[in-house]
Symmetry: C2
Subunit: 346 residues, 2 copies
Amino acid sequence: MVSERGLQVLRAIVQDYVDTREPVGSKAIVERHAFGVSAATIRNDMALLEDEELIVAPHTSSGRVPTDKGYRVFVDHLAELRPLSPAQRAAIASFLDGSGDLDDVLVRTVRALTQLTGQVAIVQYPSFARATITHVELVQLGGGRMLVILVTDTGRVSQRLTFVGEDFDDADLAHIRAGLGTLLVGRPVREGLQRIAERLDDPDAQAPAHERATDEIVRAVAEELEEFRQDKLVMAGSANLARRESDFRGSIYPLLEAIEEQVTLLRLMGEMVADEQGLAASIGRENEAFGLGEASVVASDYDATGSLARVGVLGPTRMDYPTNLATVRAVARYLTRMLEQDDSSR
Amino acid sequence: MVSERGLQVLRAIVQDYVDTREPVGSKAIVERHAFGVSAATIRNDMALLEDEELIVAPHTSSGRVPTDKGYRVFVDHLAELRPLSPAQRAAIASFLDGSGDLDDVLVRTVRALTQLTGQVAIVQYPSFARATITHVELVQLGGGRMLVILVTDTGRVSQRLTFVGEDFDDADLAHIRAGLGTLLVGRPVREGLQRIAERLDDPDAQAPAHERATDEIVRAVAEELEEFRQDKLVMAGSANLARRESDFRGSIYPLLEAIEEQVTLLRLMGEMVADEQGLAASIGRENEAFGLGEASVVASDYDATGSLARVGVLGPTRMDYPTNLATVRAVARYLTRMLEQDDSSR
DNA sequence: ATTGGCACTCCAGTCATGCGAGTGCCAGCT
DNA sequence: AGCTGGCACTCGCATGACTGGAGTGCCAAT
């Protein structure tokens, strides 16, 4: 069984190893931390920690390095979030204040996070599946081209250009628009998709006069809604992986690929389990299923007007968890406040 | 003076070095290429090539490696574009066929290019500065929110949400819309920006009733046009840099940073000088001013309905220029055809 | 339970050595 | 004049032996 002091030794090892990136020995610990016991005592504790597979010695006779399990215990039981300095808080504010629409806010958020942590920053779009459609707008561009515009209550605006093959007169257009409006406005995206599907399947619903053209419009709306349903990520700071390359045993290729693919990271972010504070960490081998066995993700929930999403950082397993957890939480809170405020002012 | 055969030796060295990534010696050349002379003769030629600084020996007694200048001569005078295989042509077609709007076409283009070349693929958006504005649309979302939509003849649609503080009745809205229409429709983006600026400076032009609100709309239009003026890039395949990392002497950090920044690559792509075929290459140290002294860019012009832009790949100086040049050219031609066809069908 | 001491292990750096690839140069040949 | 074979020479690189140092595990003593 690992004693209380043993856990403190684990903490010291994690801290020093993250700091120095060198395996840490018993002597170094008594020098850097005031344990009040001798190196031999620390060695006994370390032997126990090694039995529990919380630390490991790379070579028979070298200092110890935390295992992934060791990091997990550290994060869950030993890490005290390091509060941000006033300068750091000011930095978040100056990055985010004065931003415009949702896209802009999220881009600024990842920039701030990557700047503060020196890691890759990731933010999930708020899930639009639960968002409500507030506007459907059709704009004719002439030559049979039609612009379909959807707006949700979360402030997302999306437009799609489609070729319907004919130009409508104002009355017909108003009629189609009204039809789509009753079908969709006030409905959540998910329900809207369902209704659209029914509409496409039901032969009676077709207005025979413009059958092909309206079908084309409905299809464009469906595609657009489908895109809403898919979650999206915004990222920044992938170059930081190259700076920290030596922290990854293998190549950073799979990491860059995951960043480019997005879908892997989306699943990973989605599956992480948050604690009661909304914070979550996924460490090293826990990510092996995603091909990211040498990386860690630290994330925090944030609240976009009722729809929960996550913001976090991706970096090497050997990262500064206390700082990153605190920074991610601070940014998430600021982001939540921004989005609330944004919403009430408009 | 370098003889004709000397140049062929240079070509052999470039080819073999790109192939094997090992310095190539005189013996290897006579073995792999049918020069019909002995190794000693090749050695004499190599000594001349070294005098001209076209090749260099990493160590006193090792094979030779092309210098950046050597690559330049190779690309300008010695490289014969390697024609694409039917399978490769089919791959381009299957990537690009069935694509939708401009964004979609460009995304598919970079995917195809990165797939075919294994490098980072880059495509410039067609310059919208010369594009003509065909539609200005205003959509009220209620709560004082207004959606401003601009459409150009190149098929780009852009929308922006702005808070105007009040809701207009239909007549007022139509009036404002008509005013913007006469100001902008049929004008190139550049000219539109100018007219907007004049409009904002001219105190007489303000409709006093809705002064603040219309100003807000005009300002949103101006911001949107400004964004049009800025060129943009679409990229894919940045993970490939990690795969080819050993080809870069230093870190790939500056490269990833340039990819994230975009602005550096935009300038670089813009400043490259194309030959009469629309092909351009910028090699190694020629890119030093951009912080990319160990990378090369190969690009080809393509024609987006009259507005010229570029598509290309970024990779290590030691890249397969004949293949990449040919692939970039093929993709550029296909892209040009797609955009033409697209335009006429709509 | 903690400690000092001690033997042991293993990494990392240094040096000497040998091998092989490749060059430069020269004398001779066509 | 150009090409060739031959030969001495230079390095890079891999190998192996040796050493110093850091760190451990264990044990007897406190």
